[in-house]
């Protein structure tokens, strides 16, 4: 493994595929959500339209350098996370730049975008941006606890931190998936997934009712476009990470998209069923329930691996 220029092209291809997958899943999910709520809902290709519209619109407003760079950080973070994850197991075309680092890199790179975004929003000068960021960061860091524990658990179980090797260890049928071999850890991970995706009951970040305006208001047109682009890649990247870690990864695109869809749908379903937490509830919840669960999971995993 190592860097070769051609891999940039492979990576661009992968990004293109996953971008579209992300856009479609977004549309479909919103549609399903509407149908469940007995509404007609949007067209499934609506995200494309929104995106194009945003990119076409022009805004000459900026609040400063960081405001301008915020979305750049955001998208760089999303793309970076994606690019450090191997997508299709065994494929030399779709392994991205996973050779630069392992799961730890991915775990920490997730913050790159959040941080940049938060900075950008901060410079916007809007008080609600700050409140939103404050809540968002608090929520993400709390939710990350479960994620980190889950990742460490997987690391313990397979005695590696390399995502590729983790996937490799799960090959050979559903019985080898982490989901089956270590269900407790998977439950924890899926809770973390809810938090990481900002889905209900952990959707405090946007909290539209409470913060009617904030980053989304200050960021519009092109800025919003870039953020929307990110929204179709970043969640996919996270989902793929979970697929790789807990659901055996994927050896081809079909399996991958299927698994992405299923995992993604999990968050949607839960979000429909549970009401939203207040942010301090959410934090307390992670510390009170997820953390002990994680500790138990780690102990169990140690026993399994040992």
């Amino acid at each position: 493994m190592g860097f070769e220029p051609i891999k940039i092209l492979y990576a661009l291809g992968t990004i293109f595929i996953i971008f579209n997958v992300g856009m479609l899943i977004q549309g479909i999910v919103r549609k399903i959500g509407a149908r469940v709520g007995k509404r007609y809902g949007i067209r499934f290709y609506q995200p494309y339209i929104d995106l194009i519209k945003n990119y076409v619109m022009r805004s000459n407003v900026t609040h400063g350098v960081m405001f301008y760079l915020g979305p750049v950080f955001r998208l760089t973070g999303g793309l970076g996370v994606f690019l450090f994850i191997p997508i299709i197991y065994g494929s030399q075309y779709f392994s991205n730049f996973a050779f630069a680092g392992d799961v730890v890199l991915v775990l920490y790179f997730i913050f790159f975008g959040s941080l940049g975004m938060a900075l950008g929003a901060g410079e916007g000068g809007h008080p609600y941006s700050a409140i939103g960021v404050s809540r968002g960061l608090a929520q993400v860091t709390a939710a990350e606890i479960a994620l980190v524990i889950a990742v460490i658990g997987v690391g313990i179980q397979y005695d590696t931190l390399s995502i590729t090797e983790m996937v490799a260890a799960q090959q050979g049928g559903i019985a080898n998936w982490t989901m089956v071999t270590n269900p407790l850890l998977t439950i924890l991970a899926m809770l973390a997934f809810l938090g990481a995706m900002g889905r209900s009951p952990f959707d405090v970040v946007l909290a539209p009712q409470e913060i009617p305006i904030g980053p989304p208001t200050e960021y519009h047109s092109t800025f919003l476009g870039i953020m929307q682009t990110n929204r179709s890649i970043f969640p996919m990247a996270k989902t793929i990470l979970f697929v790789n870690l807990f659901f055996g990864g994927a050896t081809n695109w079909i399996v991958l998209i299927l698994k992405i869809f299923i995992v993604y749908m999990w968050s949607v379903v839960v979000g429909v069923v549970f009401p939203r937490f207040r942010v301090d509830h959410s934090i307390r919840w992670w510390y009170k329930y997820a953390l002990p669960l994680g500790i138990i999971a780690i102990i169990v995993t140690t026993l399994i691996a040992g």
Partner: protein, 1047 residues
């Protein structure tokens, strides 16, 4: 050679005639008086020189008969030394009292002369009854001269003094006559030869009474209320003689009668001394009157000296062996000079309350003297008390007297509390009054200042065990030189320090090996770098440079020290220097105190540990022996560990840190956080390297440290997010980061140590950067509260960039260097199997994001305040080191292999299991892999592409006005309303309330309360009633007797 008897002839002859001379005029009398004092000093000084050259001790017989038939005097080396001290003290105290002598009746001079003569007699006489006569001369002269101030306080103190002295000498007399009965002689030396203490109970009792009478004169707890009153009330010039001179003579009397004592009695004496030392220092905690405080301290010091002497003699050391002289002599000289100096200062200040001594700040030389005396009393280097205490602890340890060491260190610690509290108040409290110092008062003080410095220098030869002198002493000389050129402006001194510092770095670094190189770079190169901001200061910055350099010399000394004494000395020098740096801050006095107390507490624990090491390893002071300890390894490591953890502010011992870092000056905070904190790390590295090879038995110290480190990370970071003060936020963040370092070390694996060193290096880089940047901001906006800032990115863009880089590096987000630490942590945790601790560490790391964001947001983003519209970018001298640090961070982030590779190799000597393999820029562990360079390139690449994409789409963006935001359909008018900065993470606090309670602070406060209230309770025994004091003396005698024969 002038016979020593002339001391008495001169004193008596002139004393008798002085009132006649006075009739010829006061000037005549005074000339003769000072001439007599000088002549006495000269005689003893001449004998001292003579005897130092190896002459035989002189026995002076009187009336032409040999002892025991006549009274004899002795002038040996010790006698010469003591009389020289007493006579010079007499001369200097005489000068100090000159104005009083001039205006008062001639009796004052006569009494003073008689007092000094009496003290000489106590030292020189070899006859037990003659000693009684001199005792009475001293006592009556003292009591009479107390009346130099004729106010109610000193008169009533004098009355109590005379009664107590009368009772003590009554008992002395009883003992003398019975001893005469048992031995048939009065000569003390011959008495000791013939006396068999155990022969009968009456003999034992007589010797006991003798001893207790002498001890009562030495003011033991609790039979010392009379002495305390005298210390408080009597004129400063006189009390200096009482505290130093009389104590010296009485100690020598104790030394003289000690051959009579058997082991039981020596133990009793030691016990009394220790109780006195501990209790007087405890009681002094509540004291607000300066002179009484000094009284408590004097009494305590004398107690310590008694303990040291009695126990050493009991352990079999010859009475005048080198060890005994080094320890008790060193302690004694230290006390003698410092206490006289401080009492003299009390006369200059003429204020009772401790904080009113701040008037000393009007005179820098006297302030310096005050600080030196106080520090010497605490027992810090480079003063004699330090070396003596060291030697004492080592020798006690050698004898296995650990219980005694423990209590001595406790007492010393209590002493340090009130002395440093006082020092802090003097340095910081409001300056109200003028200071009128007469030259006659300053002169003696300066002489003793000089003497104590020379004494320290002389004793410091203990350090020199094979290390080249130039390395040890040249830096110290440089510090002294800096004191002398302190009147120069900052620019010159700063340049000088940077140049010399660079050269010293160049000199030292090649001499280091292993992980020391790494720390050497941080300590020295980093130190030089952090001097650059110093240029922004105008004026002289009095006292900054010598003390800052002292801190760095201490740090460098740690690296090159080869034995425990060098290490400990360097450690204390560093602590002392840093204390003075911290206390320079505007509101830093209480924090500097708590820093100092934790440091000294830690240092004493370390001293204890080194003592046990010395004991266990067969009297070896070599630091290398740390690695092959035969027994008691666990306790030694634990003690040393606690000491180092104090400096590293691990949880439980961290409460000093936020205030100290937060309140220090702008360019001092980075020094403390980035550099000083690594001293603890260095100690722990050394310790862990030793643990690697030592047999720890059942104690799993690394495991404990691991948990401690993990919890420190979590709590430190958690508390950081609640801070409103930007510098305190960074300070708590330092606590957290030092927790990572601790955790890494505790892992005891190659990977763990690499993690730790990576963190250390990284923390040095980003914390220096952050503290400098924030320091610059604080310097400009004149507040440290983040919610009062905001929007400063527009005014201070360069500082913003620094903080941005800093927080990314801090939080561990790739691609900057912080990620290296995180990655290594995961690997190390998995390798070691410390999953739970690892989880806590990592969660702690996640919390760091919160305060990182808050720091940059609340300061630089959001709404700019009206009052900050004219703020300029931070001074250029702040920015220069920031640029260098950013460069270093970038380099480290892009090419981690270049640094971590060699560091890994350094560690191979200690921990050979190298779990990390470097292939060019790729790092492979058994778990994963990581390529810092690629990550940087990929991230950079994406960033540039996305940025270009945005720029292409939105290239004409224009900056809008500050309030061009949509805000509930209104335009806000005041930035204060729209800048959300206060209590930013309120919800986090709400969610995790119980974890953010200041339990640790409460714990330490409770401890302090317990000490203070017990002190307040116990000291009520000193009712002020003379009769009670008599009762105390008798109770003391009786109780000690029954304790002695009972146990």
């Amino acid at each position: 050679m002038v016979s020593p008897i002339y001391i008495f002839i001169i004193a008596l002859g002139i004393g008798f005639l002085l009132s006649l001379f006075d009739k010829a005029g006061r000037a005549v009398a005074m000339t003769i008086f000072y001439g007599a004092l000088l002549a006495m000093a000269f005689i003893s000084g001449q004998w001292l020189l003579h005897l130092l050259q190896g002459a035989e001790a002189e026995i002076i017989t009187t009336a032409g008969f040999q002892p025991p038939f006549s009274i004899n005097l002795k002038m040996g080396l010790l006698e010469a030394f003591f009389t020289f001290l007493i006579n010079t003290l007499g001369f200097l105290a005489g000068i100090y009292l000159l104005p009083k002598f001039k205006s008062q009746k001639i009796y004052g001079m006569i009494l003073f002369l008689m007092l000094i003569m009496g003290l000489n007699g106590l030292v020189m006489t070899g006859d037990m009854f003659n000693l009684f006569v001199f005792l009475e001369i001293t006592s009556i002269a003292t009591v009479s001269i107390i009346a130099i101030e004729k106010n109610l306080k000193s008169i009533s103190a004098g009355f109590k003094y005379v009664i107590a002295g009368g009772i003590a000498s009554a008992f002395y007399l009883i003992a003398t006559i019975f001893l005469y009965r048992f031995t048939g002689v009065l000569n003390i030396a011959m008495m000791a030869e013939t006396l068999n203490v155990a022969s009968s109970q009456a003999v034992f009792l007589s010797v006991f009474i003798l001893m207790i009478a002498v001890i009562v004169e030495l003011k033991p707890f609790p039979a010392n209320g009379w002495a305390l009153d005298a210390y408080e009330a009597v004129d400063s010039g006189v009390v200096a003689v009482i505290a130093s001179g009389t104590s010296a003579a009485m100690l020598f009397v104790f030394y003289k009668i000690s051959p009579l004592l058997n082991n039981t009695l020596l133990l009793t004496a030691a016990g009394i001394g220790l109780a006195t030392f501990t209790f007087s220092n405890l009681l002094a905690l509540k004291q607000k009157n300066a002179k009484r405080l000094l009284g408590y301290s004097s009494i305590g010091q004398i107690g310590l000296i008694i303990t040291a002497y009695a126990l050493l003699v009991r352990a079999g050391y010859a009475r005048n062996s080198e060890i005994v002289m080094l320890t008790t002599g060193g302690l004694f000289i230290n006390h003698f000079l410092a206490k006289a100096g401080l009492f003299w200062l009390s006369g200059v200040v003429e204020k009772e309350k401790l904080e009113e001594w701040s008037t000393l700040r009007n005179n820098p030389i006297l302030l310096f003297a005050f600080a030196v005396f106080v520090i010497a009393l605490v027992g810090l280097p480079p003063f004699p008390g330090f070396f003596a205490k060291w030697q004492l602890v080592m020798t006690f340890a050698n004898q296995g007297l650990f219980f005694w060491i423990g209590l001595i260190l406790l007492g010393s610690f209590l002493e340090a509390i009130y002395l440093f509290r006082w020092l802090g108040k003097v340095l910081k409290s409001d300056l109200k009054a003028e200071l009128k110092a007469k030259i006659s008062q300053i002169f003696p003080i300066l002489i003793y200042l000089l003497a104590i410095l020379i004494g320290g220098g002389y004793l410091s030869r203990l350090i020199n065990q094979g290390t080249s002198l130039s390395i040890l002493y040249l830096p110290v000389l440089f510090i002294v030189f800096l004191f002398f050129i302190d009147f120069l402006p900052v620019a010159i001194k700063n340049t000088l320090v940077i140049l010399v510092g660079s050269y010293y770095t160049y000199l030292i670094i090649p001499q280091l090996s292993g992980y020391r190189v790494m720390l050497g770079v941080i300590f020295l190169a980093g130190g030089v770098l952090l001097f650059i901001p110093g240029y922004f200061k105008r004026g002289k910055r009095t006292g900054f440079y010598p003390l800052a350099v002292m801190m760095y010399v201490g740090l460098a000394g740690l690296l090159i020290s080869e034995n425990t004494l060098q290490f400990f000395t360097s450690w204390e020098l560093m602590t002392l220097g840093s204390y003075f740096l911290i206390i320079r801050g505007k509101k830093s006095e209480p924090h500097a105190l708590s820093y100092m107390l934790f440091s000294i507490g830690g240092a004493f624990v370390m001293l204890f540990g080194f003592g046990i090491l010395y004991y266990v390893n067969g009297n070896s002071m070599a630091l290398s022996s740390l690695g092959n300890i035969e027994s008691m390894a666990g306790i030694i490591y634990a003690l040393l560990g606690i000491a180092f953890l104090t400096k590293m502010a691990s949880i439980g011992l961290h409460i000093w840190l936020p205030g100290a870092y937060g309140e220090a000056e702008a360019d001092v905070s980075p020094m403390l956080s980035a550099i000083l904190s690594k001293a603890g790390m260095f100690g722990l590295l050394m310790l862990m390297a030793a643990i690697q090879t030592a047999n720890l038995g059942s104690i799993n110290l690394p495991y404990v440290l691991g948990w401690l480190g993990a919890i420190t990370v979590f709590i430190g970071n958690l508390l950081a997010i609640y801070q409103e003060d930007a510098k305190r936020l960074l300070a708590y963040s330092s606590v957290g980061n030092l927790g990572y370092i601790l955790f890494g070390l505790a892992l005891m694996s190659h990977m763990g140590w690499l993690t730790s060193i990576t963190y250390a290096l990284n923390h040095f880089l980003f914390k220096a950067l952050l503290f400098l940047a924030i320091g610059g901001v604080v310097y400009r906006v004149k507040t440290k509260n983040m919610y009062e800032m905001g929007g400063l990115i527009k005014k201070m863009p360069l500082s913003f960039v620094s903080v941005l880089i800093g927080i990314i590096a801090l939080s561990g987000v790739p691609p900057l260097s912080g990620f290296a630490g995180k990655w290594l942590t995961y690997n190390a945790v998995l390798e070691k199997g410390w999953y739970l601790q690892g989880v806590i560490v990592i969660i702690g790391g996640l919390i760091a994001f919160l305060y990182c964001f808050r720091l940059i947001y609340a300061v630089f983003l959001g709404q700019l305040k009206d009052k900050h519209r004219q703020v300029k970018e931070a001074p250029v001298w702040f920015l220069i080191p920031q640029v260098i640090l950013i460069g270093a961070i970038m380099l480290f982030s892009t090419y981690p292999a270049f640094i971590l590779g060699p560091v890994g190799k350094m560690l191979n000597d200690i921990l050979p299991e190298n779990a990390l393999i470097w292939e060019n820029l790729d790092a492979y562990s058994i778990y994963g892999h990581w390529n810092g360079f690629l990550i940087m390139m990929i991230t950079g690449g994406i960033f540039v592409i996305v940025f270009l994409w945005l720029y292409f789409l939105n290239r004409k963006a224009q900056k809008v006005k500050q309030f061009n935001i949509v805000y509930a359909a209104e335009r806000p008018s005041r930035p204060e309303l729209t800048h959300v900065g206060y209590n930013f993470f309120a919800h986090y606090k709400k969610a995790l309330g119980s974890l953010s309670q200041p339990y640790v602070t409460k714990f330490w406060n409770t401890m302090a309360d317990i000490f203070h209230s017990s002190a307040g309770f116990i000291r009520r025994i000193y009712t002020g009633d003379g009769q009670t004091y008599i009762l105390h003396i008798i109770i003391f005698i009786v109780v000690v007797y029954f304790l002695t024969i009972g146990g």
